[in-house]
Amino acid sequence: MNFLFPVIVKRTGFALLTLFAISILIFAGLEALPGDTAQAILGQGATQENLEALRKELKLDLPLHTRYATWLGDLARGELGNSLSNGRPVTGMIGWRFENTLVLAFSAAVVSIPLAIVLGLICALYQNSWLDKLLSTSTLSAISLPEFFVAYLLIVVFVVQFELFPSVAILRPDMALSERINVLVLPCLTLTLVVLAHMMRMTRAAIIGVLSSPYIEMARLKGVKRAKIIFYHALPNALAPIINVVVMDLAWLVVGVVVVEVVFVYPGLGQLLVDSVSKRDIPVVQASGLIFACTYIFLNLTADVLSILSNPKLRHPK
């Protein structure tokens, strides 16, 4: 185990470094704005004195690195500042929406991961069968479809034609579970379709890669039964690449929600981010951007660590 430790520490270190770089980038973004926060709060008509006073209050007169340190400290305590457009604390605006986003991403993951792995496995096992060819061609197309196209197609079918689900996802805290699910179906289905194709293709490729290795031929020459070859000889070795793909796609999913949320007017973090970018409400943009980035980096780190852990050569050092 002591062999694994340094590798994992290294990866974690890199993730932290990335986060650090991002925090600097975000802070620099704040600074790069024409005018400063005081100006933004008080508007163009503010007097010089009022501006000075507010700058002191907001500690804008301190040097850059001190302010960066303060900002980072506030961030760590969950104080993300106030929105420029409505003056409300950012933390409060984000909390509920982030939860909604996670619910959406999580439900899409629950549907797509098992489906992708099973379909990928079937395609790999029945390579070049009509099913494999059909799925390969359709997934090749599906990975290059824009999310909003998939979303509108689904709306045309399920909302316009069959009137099964609402096209606008309105969420209220007091909604019953069944209502919530009803609202979730279409956004979730869109995300699933979008992420499924990639995950399935990668799973298929990983398994085919393992199946063509000499130890699988050896297993066949030992007279091992087909099912055992797949589950005992192939799967443990395909696990690392598959886990990697799944977690990376999860990371992608968390970001992919942005467009889907906008299509369905789903009250999530992505929707908030996009709204704030068009209003140029920088504190909100940066807070929500940071949350997205952290989630993405954390999931990528998890993918890294899991694939290291599932490698027998690293798990059992010499």
């Binding site: 063509s212 290795s213 000499p214 130890y215 031929e217 050896m218 297993a219 066949r220 020459l221 030992k222 007279g223 091992v224 039964k225 087909r226 055992k228 005992y232 000889h233 443990p236 070795n237 027998p312 050569k313 059992h316 010499k318």
Partner: protein, 547 residues
């Protein structure tokens, strides 16, 4: 027909293959790779299948288990194992035979063991599946076999993962795995080709022991006649998917009927007449070189030797001996930390980029893998023409003339000018590499394992060509090789390397005649000879020594 009167024990026939044809898929068409081969195997017998690449020997070996690789099919003929027809047998029936009655030992054990499972579980897989033994019995059997195969720590080694065991040991563990169910037949597919000679001898000994003790039959596939001579009762020579000749081992080795077999036999018996030593200034002098890779330990310690004009120095060693690193230091890819390289008495800068163009011109290199030593996107005339343009730039006409001249020197012709490397055979590519080196008109050529990726007959042609060129052009050669037969065929002087040090150094015949340094002794005695009794003899002498 007269009935058999003599009370002779009739050998038990295990396997009979008749009229076997195998096809491989190429550009969407089925093409024959094995074109009608007959063979048979009796209990207690080892059949050696020998041939160069493309002979179809591995394909036939796998066919004996009713198995065809992806993209191949067993298109005609009969494969009869104890009355059962295997060619078109259903998979479920073949599963009952594979591993249980007919077992397989692959060329690369490192790739053929599943990295996710311990050796012992992979050993026990087939016996357990056939309910031959319990896990406990399998463990005991494994320990017994590991002991018989001279594996260290036979009780514990099974509980390691494949990557925790060395190559030679893993190969023996694979032989043990094949023996797990006491099969009738074992197919050995080049089991020692990837190993160093000193490791090869251990594996060969183990295989010989096992076949003798367990009274099974074996098919031994290899390209190396000397290896097959040690183990086989009968030998079958294959070429282009056809049987060239078949016979008792002694007959094939001593009195081959076919010219092809005789050629194969002659390859390893080529010996160069050593040129008389020279008293002049050496062309290349390597002095006390110590070098290592970034942040790593030193891979070379105090290496010194000299190369003279018109003479060949062979640097011999096994993998990890540092012989390739020597070439990298001389060429400037690996700057040394201590010592100096002198060319024509002048110090060479350790870094390639600090060396001037004319100096670089004077030594050229020929590489191990002709497939990757020529740019696949360049035509032959550009490959050979570039050094002429780069060093001399004599104008287009003169370049064309020189290229044609060089093609002639390497025994090719103008038809090759516009070909791309993919349109050349391995040997032709290596010839083009030689022409590219000659184009610079060098004084020294460094040859890094130039024949190891080639078939033996082709390799021999290349060695002969290199010798002729040396006589004509009076160049010095530095030969990096692991193969002692190559050394005999080409070297005047020999440098023996072991673990980054020169252990012995001198004229070839001095190094090759006793008394030797211990390692040289081990190396020399491990090289298989055509004599079928060689292995037994070596083991006997080694036992005497240790006793």
């Amino acid at each position: 027909m007269t009935p058999d009167i003599k009370p002779e024990i009739k050998p038990e026939r295990l396997l009979t293959i008749t009229g076997l044809e195998i096809e491989g898929r190429q550009d969407g068409k089925w093409k024959k790779v094995v074109k009608g081969v007959d063979l048979h195997l009796n209990r207690g017998e080892v059949l050696g299948l020998i041939g160069e690449s493309g002979a179809g020997k591995s394909t036939i070996g796998l066919a004996a288990m009713g198995y065809a690789r992806e993209g191949c099919r067993l298109s005609a003929g009969n494969i009869n194992y104890l009355g059962k027809e295997l060619r078109q047998a259903p998979e479920s029936e073949l599963e009952q035979i594979r591993g249980y009655k007919i077992a397989y030992v692959a060329q690369s054990a490192a790739a053929s063991f599943n990295p996710s499972h311990k050796l012992i579980t992979q050993f026990a897989e087939t016996p357990l599946a056939h309910k031959m033994m319990t896990m406990e019995q399998a463990k005991a059997k494994a320990e017994d076999l590991y002991t018989k195969l001279f594996l260290p720590d036979p009780a514990g080694i099974g509980f390691r993962y494949p990557h925790q065991v060395s190559g030679g040991q893993l190969q023996r563990a694979m032989v043990a795995m094949a023996m797990a169910c006491d099969p009738d037949i074992i197919i050995f597919d080049e089991p020692t080709t990837a190993l160093d000679v000193t490791t090869q001898i251990e594996v060969l000994t183990a295989i010989k022991e096992v076949v003798r003790k367990f009274n099974c039959a074996a098919i031994y596939i290899t390209h190396d006649l000397a290896v097959v001579a040690q183990l086989s009762h009968r030998i079958m020579v294959l070429r282009h998917g056809l049987c060239v000749e078949e016979g008792q081992a002694a007959q094939i080795l001593d009195a081959p009927k076919e010219k092809y077999t005789a050629d194969l036999l002659a390859v390893r018996r080529q010996v160069k007449d050593v040129a008389p030593p020279k008293q002049e200034e050496p062309l290349l002098r390597v002095e006390n070189i110590t070098a290592g890779y970034k942040n790593g330990p030193a891979v070379l310690h105090n290496v010194s030797f000299e190369v003279f004009r018109g003479r060949t120095v062979a640097v011999v060693g096994e993998s990890g001996s540092g012989k390739t690193s020597v070439a990298r230091v001389i060429t400037g890819f690996l700057p040394q930390t201590e010592g100096m390289v002198y060319f024509d008495g002048i110090e060479m800068s350790p870094l390639l980029k600090h060396r001037d163009k004319d100096r670089l011109r004077k030594w050229q290199m020929i590489f191990q893998m002709p497939d990757v030593a020529v740019n696949p996107r360049h035509k032959v005339k550009d490959i050979i023409g570039r050094p002429i343009r780069f060093y001399y730039n004599p104008g287009k006409k003169e370049i064309d003339r020189r290229v044609s001249e060089l093609l002639e020197m390497i025994e090719l012709n103008d038809k090759y000018l516009d070909r791309y490397p993919s349109e050349l055979s391995g040997g032709e590519k290596q010839r083009v590499c030689i022409a590219r080196a000659l184009a610079a008109q060098p004084e020294l050529i460094i040859c890094d394992e130039v024949t190891s990726a080639l078939d033996q007959l082709v390799a021999e042609e290349i060695l002969k060509l290199l010798q002729r060129l040396q006589q004509d052009l009076n160049m010095g050669y530095l030969f990096i090789t692991h193969d002692l037969a190559t050394v005999r065929a080409i070297a005047d002087d020999v440098v023996v390397m072991y673990q980054g040090r020169v252990v012995e150094h001198g004229p070839r015949d001095d190094v090759f005649t006793p008394p030797h340094h211990d390692y040289t002794e081990l190396l020399l005695s491990s090289v298989p000879e055509m004599d079928p009794n060689w292995l037994d003899r070596v083991l006997e002498t080694r036992q005497k020594k240790t006793a």
